[in-house]
């Protein structure tokens, strides 16, 4: 494990602040009727927050390639799980 990280304490506080602002936004936006966009916006903010945590708090931004491979592979498997199952359930009424 590398213990050297190019991420400064200051950027941790910045990321923390952005995460809190995003939480506030998700919460407030949920009260506006955007139709199907409500879920899209909520998930987009959640994905953005998760990316901030992974890249900065979990140091992936400055991690070796091997860590990137594992992260991307896990997202790829998650994608297979979600896409293949959705392609079944969402198309059943076609036949």
């Amino acid at each position: 494990m590398s213990t050297e990280h190019a991420i400064s304490k200051r950027s941790y506080y910045t990321v923390f602040f952005v995460l809190l602002v995003c939480t506030y936004l998700t919460w407030q936006i949920a009260y506006f009727d955007l139709g199907p966009l409500n879920t899209v916006v909520a998930l987009a903010i959640a994905i953005f927050k998760a990316a901030l945590v992974v890249l900065f708090f979990m140091h992936v931004r400055t991690s070796p390639r091997l860590t990137w491979v594992v992260v991307v592979a896990s997202l790829f498997w998650l994608g297979i799980l979600l896409v293949l199952t959705a392609s079944d359930y969402l198309t059943r009424h076609w036949i």
């Binding site: 919460w27 998760a50 945590v53 594992v70 997202l75 998650l78 799980l81 199952t85």
Partner: protein, 191 residues
């Protein structure tokens, strides 16, 4: 730890998938059931977990810099925030049991949506329950890290246990980042 977390992604991924399928099948019941969630509790808990993730990175930072006092302080705050989260979650469960929202024989809900709302609450209790189990394990790991740091096992040269434990904690935070909007905020826009 990263490989373990990859398996955890799929573990929780399966539950999010089940949630998506049922929400797609019963949108109005999910909206009705989600409106019963205690929004302030979920929002505060999101902020609590984000703050605990900050204290974890500050602990990792302190460990790598060999600052023992700061390390112990941030680990302690992290553990306390973990208990605050579980306390608020416990209050929610207590309220929901009182309102007969726990699935089972005594489940009560608006008759139009009752069977499908019961599915929502099953998913809610499974997903947040599994998350809470992860929180309890996380608090246990942080307690061990506190002990190791107290004993002086963790040094500037040997700080990777703190970093690896931190990865687990952040992962559990990320799961909550997705649980919060999907369980608490669905259908808030319906008046």
């Amino acid at each position: 730890m990263w490989v373990f977390l990859a398996t955890e992604v799929l573990f929780f991924g399966g539950m999010f998938l089940t949630y998506s399928i049922y929400r797609h099948a019963y949108p109005s019941a999910f909206i009705a059931a989600s409106r019963e969630m205690i929004v302030w509790a979920g929002t505060i808990n999101t902020a609590v977990l984000i703050t605990s993730s900050l204290t974890v990175v500050l602990a990792v930072h302190a460990a790598a810099a060999g600052q023992r006092r700061a390390l112990l302080l941030f680990l302690m705050i992290t553990i306390l925030l973990g208990f605050v989260f579980l306390g608020i979650k416990g209050y929610e469960y207590w309220t929901e049991f009182g309102e007969h929202h726990f699935p089972g024989r005594s489940f009560q809900f608006d008759a139009r949506y009752a069977p499908q709302a019961e599915i929502f609450f099953s998913l809610y209790f499974m997903m947040t329950g599994l998350h809470a189990v992860h929180m309890i394990i996380g608090i246990g790991i942080m307690a061990v890290m506190f002990w190791l740091s107290w004993r002086g096992t963790i040094t500037r040269e040997y700080s990777s246990p703190i970093e690896i434990s931190g990865l687990y904690w952040h992962f559990v935070d990320i799961v909550w980042i997705f649980l919060f909007p999907l369980l608490y905020l669905v259908g808030r826009h319906v008046h």
